[in-house]
């Protein structure tokens, strides 16, 4: 009998090799206590959280918590059902209403996770004979949505308007086309040139879906995302997003003005064939989304913190993935896997948690220590983080041959 696990042997060996060097597993962190959006206890030690995507710090917002508690008592712990059967409660409608108001769009559909929102939208919108044209650096949920569906998948070079144009030109003019873009790309923290890309997509008769998972809350006048800041709202057909970043809980969604949008509830399998979000979660989400409409102060603080971390790291000799601060993600380029893991561990031992990212999650063999900012990070925490980055970088010899 052949062991079905033998295909994982190379990865098992690679992991064993890393762990044998006395390095702890970067993918097995346990948050024993979470004190605030920016502080948790890891291994009994107070740790600054600098890699949570909790951009707007809504996880502990008192109004959000109160709404969740009330819904938990009033509607119970879970819905035990699909959105199209017994799983749509008053709270799910209110959450979709909040999204419609936030985005100024006529339709909103809430999924159980952001992953499922992309899986569902991508696989359902483009069918057999249609084409999906996606950015090479698209999130796994977009790629997986492609593979769940039956469309032909064409990939263009990351953020390249020229490459998108070239690939669209080769497609049959009459075929259905869906161009998929992201506002912020979460690995390097760079943003998409949406003005150019959306114009090209429209010129070739494609519908456009923009994933604003990492842009919601603090890009554009109303915090709708990079597409709003870029001034292309009228040309974007679908916006996909998540509750697990700026909104501060879990869930995914798509908003649109398409007149036939509601039919998706019956044909979108990752929406239909799964249980809906628990009442407490949609209550938290709806409250948080409505508060994010008026979060100008938090937005300003988040941008201020992000810029300071970006410039502070450059001043201390680190190489970053973007020349300037483009989003609330600041990614530090690392030379190789071993230095990355050692640096990540040194940071953790100094009381700062960041994300470690490696291929194939990252593009082109890049190793990263990825930081994401929170509007609730204090100036003191930022100073501490910068100081510890410098200490850790020196300790692992990052600057030795620079």
């Amino acid at each position: 009998m052949s062991d079905l696990f033998s295909k994982f042997d190379a990865l098992i060996a690679e992991r064993a090799g890393v762990l044998a060097k006395g390095i702890r597993d970067p993918f097995a962190i346990v948050m024993q206590e979470v004190k605030s959006p920016t502080v948790a206890i890891i291994d009994g030690k107070e740790t600054i959280l600098l890699g949570t995507y909790n951009y707007m710090g809504m996880t502990f917002d008192p109004d959000v918590i109160a709404a969740g508690e009330q819904a938990l008592r009033k509607f119970g712990a879970g819905t035990t059902g699909s959105r199209v059967l017994n799983g749509t409660y008053q709270g799910h409608k209110e959450c979709e209403d909040a999204l419609k108001d936030f985005y100024g769009m006529s339709h909103a559909m809430v999924f159980s996770t952001g992953y499922q929102a992309n899986l569902g939208m991508v696989s359902t919108l483009a069918g057999k004979g249609d084409f999906i044209i996606l950015d090479a650096d698209s999130h796994a949920s977009i790629y997986d949505g492609c593979y769940l569906g039956n469309a032909d998948i064409v990939r263009f070079k990351h953020n390249s308007a020229e490459d998108l144009e070239k690939r669209l030109r080769r497609l049959p003019p009459e075929a259905g086309k869906l161009v998929i873009l992201e506002g912020v790309y979460s690995m390097l923290g760079d943003i998409a040139p949406l003005q150019e890309l959306v114009a090209i997509a429209k010129a070739h008769g494609a519908m456009v879906l923009v994933d604003e998972a990492h842009g919601m809350g603090f890009f554009g006048e109303n915090g709708r995302g990079v597409y709003e800041a870029a001034g292309v709202a009228d040309d974007v057909d679908f916006v996909v997003g998540t509750f697990s970043k700026s909104v501060g809980t879990v869930g995914g969604f798509c908003v649109s003005n398409h007149p036939k949008f509601e039919i998706l509830r019956l044909v979108c399998r990752p929406y239909t064939f799964t249980a809906s979000l628990p009442p407490a979660v949609v209550a938290c989400a709806a409250t948080s989304i409505r508060k994010l409409m008026h979060a100008g102060d938090k937005r300003a603080r988040l941008w201020d913190m992000s810029r300071k971390l970006h410039s502070g790291l450059i001043a201390r000799g680190f190489r970053l993935a973007t020349d300037s601060c483009e989003s609330a993600i600041v990614s530090v380029l690392m030379p190789d896997q071993e230095t990355t893991v050692r640096m990540w561990q040194a940071m953790l031992e100094l009381g700062v948690y960041v994300n470690m990212s490696r291929p194939p999650a990252t593009p082109a063999g890049v190793f990263l220590l990825r930081c994401s900012l929170c509007a609730e990070h204090s100036a003191e925490q930022l100073d501490t983080v910068l100081e510890r980055f410098a200490m850790a970088g020196t300790a692992v010899g990052l600057f030795a041959d620079a």
Binding site: A136, A151, D152, I153, R155, K166, R167, R170, P360
Partner: protein, 81 residues
Amino acid sequence: MTDRAQVYARIIELIEPLNPKKVALTEDTSFAGDLEMDSLTVMDLVASMEDEWDIVMPLNMLPDLETVGQVADAVTRLVTK
């Protein structure tokens, strides 16, 4: 006219820079097994072949294209279509 032999020869040239271990390239050389290419490298190779022959090679074709010979067949089909 582009015949299969020309396509095959050019594909070999395109693979060469992605073959650091200098694995011998034949019709039966497999991308995942012999060349140990990861999915990102394979997708980049597809992009370079699309540009070389001005064709569309959708990524959903890839599961059926395991060897250099199979890719040469597919490209030849797309070019002569």
